[in-house]
């Protein structure tokens, strides 16, 4: 069944920077609750919504995402009828002001213009949420908007979502402005950087943005078009995370330790797909103590784990205590170590250091491949 829309998944804007983790991979490739990658969420949302032609934009360090996404079979994208196309940009200075989504679209304009679908759904690869895009599209078409923009009402806009845009809406949900979140108030409508519009308008806006400024992003041209176009907000409800800083990443993971939140988010009728690795089950040794945690496969647990997320192939030694932490795959925490409020990247070996604790809200971060 040919869907009327194709999907575009874009990368994070150049001003978003997640301390530590970001040095090794784009946000879309970040591990989420130990098992998924952030990009699995927009991809699964699209696949579940019947969208089977998807463009994924990659910029710096594409290897991990290319491997993870592969042929798209695990996202249920028919490889003959559909396609999951990876698009690259030459402009690789990740922090360069020229490294915008508009630059990426312009470099692949031929691919974009060749898509046969009438509509496009644009979603970001650095946010985690659940959304039926088919419903969004139907609504968009019925309402006759020029653009429909997805937003989420939050009450922690002072502490979090600092790299996101804020939407101001009129009574009819018309978007009146789109501006960077300056943390001026708790309650804000955060733009989810997710848009529905006609392909023609999408292409026209890209070209317009390019003409006006080489540093414009797509959000910039949307912001500038609030007066001239009928842009309407569509409120998203349920779990929502914007992975735009280490704090946001940490909090987004920890929120899902709440069983109710997790069960509401992970439902059978809306599966999130991911690349699987045939890891064996996890072995809990006699004497291990694990509570309120999410544990991935192929871990070996001999010590204590509390309020934490344990990745694949992680080893927690005898007498080790892990609290309020995220341990990514293949890390090895040796006997008797105490870790609290930390994010331990992949392939870390904690051997000689016996204590890693952060006292502040911001968790401690241990670099990939480090031996401590």
């Amino acid at each position: 069944m040919a869907n009327k829309a194709f999907g575009v998944i874009n990368s994070a804007p150049n001003y978003i920077r997640v301390e530590g983790l970001h040095d090794y991979r784009p946000i879309g490739a970040f591990t989420f609750i130990g098992r998924f990658r952030v990009i699995d969420f927009p991809l699964s949302n699209m696949s579940n919504s019947g969208i089977n032609r998807i463009h994924v934009y990659l910029n710096s360090r594409p290897r991990s995402l290319v491997e993870h996404i592969g042929s798209g079979r695990h996202y249920n994208i028919n490889s003959k009828r559909g396609s999951l196309q990876l698009l690259f940009t030459q402009q690789n200075g990740a922090n360069s002001i020229y490294n915008t989504d508009i630059t990426a679209y312009m470099e692949n304009l031929e691919q974009l213009e060749r898509m046969p679908q009438d509509y496009v759904i644009v979603a970001p690869s650095y946010m985690v949420f659940k959304q039926d895009f088919q419903k969004l599209l139907d609504d968009h078409v019925e309402a006759g908007n020029d653009i429909t923009l997805l937003y989420h009402k939050v009450d922690q806009a002072k502490e979090y979502y600092r790299a996101c845009n804020v939407v101001e809406l009129n009574k009819q949900k018309g978007v009146q402005s789109l501006t960077r979140n300056m943390g001026t108030a708790k309650d804000k409508n955060i733009s989810m950087d997710t848009y529905v519009m006609s392909k023609d308008l999408f292409v026209a806006l890209i070209k317009k943005a390019k003409r006006e400024s080489s540093a414009y992003s797509f959000a910039d041209i949307i912001a500038l078009s609030c007066d001239t176009l009928d842009i309407r907000g569509y409120q998203h409800k349920g779990y929502f995370a914007a992975i735009t800083s280490l704090d946001d990443f940490y909090r987004a993971n920890m929120e899902l330790l709440d069983y109710g939140t997790a069960m509401d988010f992970f439902k059978q009728d809306w599966p999130f797909y991911t690349h699987t690795t045939d890891a064996c089950p996890t072995h809990y040794y006699p004497g291990a103590k694990v509570v309120n945690s999410l544990v991935c496969n192929a871990a070996t647990i001999e010590g204590t784990v509390e309020n934490s997320i344990i990745g694949r192939h992680v080893h927690i030694g005898k007498g080790a205590i892990i609290k309020n932490s995220i341990i990514l795959s293949y890390s090895d925490i040796s006997d008797g170590t105490y870790i609290e409020n930390a994010v331990i990247d992949k392939w870390v070996k904690v051997k000689n250091v016996k204590k890693i604790v952060s006292e502040s809200v911001t968790p401690a971060y241990i670099k990939r491949n480090d031996v401590l």
Binding site: I33, G34, C280, P281, Y284, K289, S293
Partner: protein, 379 residues
């Protein structure tokens, strides 16, 4: 991948009646094992890891689940351009009616055309219901080095138990000089594992003759091997010494699961150089609640534990409610143990629900209890 020129055929026909209700809707090779696997994952993964491209799976009993499980060869990476897993059931032909497989050898005979289509030099015959890791490529190299017509994998068993097995008596160089089925006085402790490599041309000829023989049981052990020995063909024994388990009964299936709780267990499913591939779903990690107590367990992703788990194997999507206890047991995929229920020395089948406060199994029972139906709870 380079063609090793050996095609594998897995005999997966077994109804496995000693596994009782576990096989009432599922062929034995599709029975669950080890938190996330099915038994047939072992020969299939061994094939994939040994570089075998084409695998036939012979079945005639309740093939739907097995069929849909196996046909997606991608689980074992066997879905490249020239590789595949093919389910072969009895079929109607221009020259004969529809017929069941009459024996292990007949199952191959009826699919000679399938084998011929790939024109292999060697054929590997496997059983679909053993749990082990084995490099068939090494066995093939041995077969070639020996210049054998057939090579049979054997393993040493305690000599006092040898009379329960098919025993291979060999000369000093690995050549089989005699085969005795359950000998009263075993001369050796080398038991056949039911794993054979044949030079296809040789076997093909024998199968064609066997099909016409009205006195034959069409069985490898009973008919083909003895004939080959009589004919003076060169049969060699290939010794295997790793973990190996035939999971033909509820007790042995339970035991094989329990073996995984041993930190030194020989099967070593965590060895990434010889992975066992299986259906791997994109489900959440295992959720261990604040009320959980885990004391020795092997748990798969997607499970949610709120209660107590002691020395147990917990499969995908199992749920153990707060206050429930699971002791010395195996919970197959989707099994649910409600509040206050206690499961002891039991094997709980797929999607079975143990109701509130129900007690199943006994600490001192000799046999493992199979729970194949929902158990009603008490309020």
């Amino acid at each position: 991948m380079a063609q090793t020129n050996m095609l594998a055929m897995i005999l997966a026909g077994g109804r496995g009646s000693r596994l009782h209700e576990l096989t009432s809707k599922v062929a034995k090779p599709a029975v669950s094992y080890g938190g996330k696997y099915r038994i047939i994952d072992f020969p299939l993964s061994n094939c994939a890891n040994s570089g075998i491209d084409i695998v036939g799976v012979l079945t005639q009993y309740e093939s739907v689940l097995l069929n849909s499980y196996v046909a997606a060869g991608g689980r074992w990476g066997l879905d490249t351009k020239d590789s595949g897993v093919f389910v072969l059931t009895p079929r109607e032909r221009a020259d004969s009616g529809l017929d069941v497989y009459r024996g292990t050898a007949d199952a191959i005979s009826q699919n000679i055309d399938f084998v011929d289509a790939y024109d292999p030099e060697y054929i590997l015959i496997l059983s679909g219901d053993h749990i082990y890791k084995m490099n068939y490529d090494k066995m093939l190299r041995y077969h070639k080095e020996q210049g054998a017509d057939a090579t049979i994998a054997v393993r040493g068993v305690p000599i006092r138990e040898a009379s329960r097995f098919g025993i291979m008596n060999t000369d000093g160089n690995g050549r089989i000089i005699e085969f005795e089925e359950k000998p009263a006085k075993p001369k050796s402790n080398l038991a056949s594992m039911g794993i054979y490599i044949f030079t296809w041309k040789t076997l093909r000829k024998l199968l064609v003759e066997d099909m016409k023989n009205p006195d034959s049981d069409h069985d490898f052990g009973k008919d083909i091997i003895p004939i080959m020995l009589n004919d003076g063909k060169k049969l060699c024994a290939y010794e295997f010494s790793g973990y190996w388990k035939d999971v033909g009964t509820i007790d042995s299936l339970w035991e094989a699961n329990m073996d995984l709780l041993d930190s030194d267990n020989e099967l070593d499913l965590d060895d990434t150089s010889w992975k066992i591939y299986t259906e791997d779903t994109g489900i959440t990690p295992q959720y261990i609640a604040s009320t959980a107590k885990i004391d020795g367990a092997y748990i798969n992703q997607g499970a949610a534990v709120g209660g107590t788990v002691q020395r147990s194997v917990i499969f995908t999507n199992c749920k153990i409610a707060p206050g429930a206890k699971v002791i010395d047991s195996v919970l197959m995929p989707g099994a649910i143990v409600e509040e206050g229920a206690v499961v002891t020395r039991a094997l709980v089948a797929e999607n079975v629900r143990i109701g509130k406060n129900a007690k199943v199994g006994e600490k001192k029972s000799e046999e493992i209890l199979l729970v194949a139906k929902n158990v009603k709870g008490e309020d």
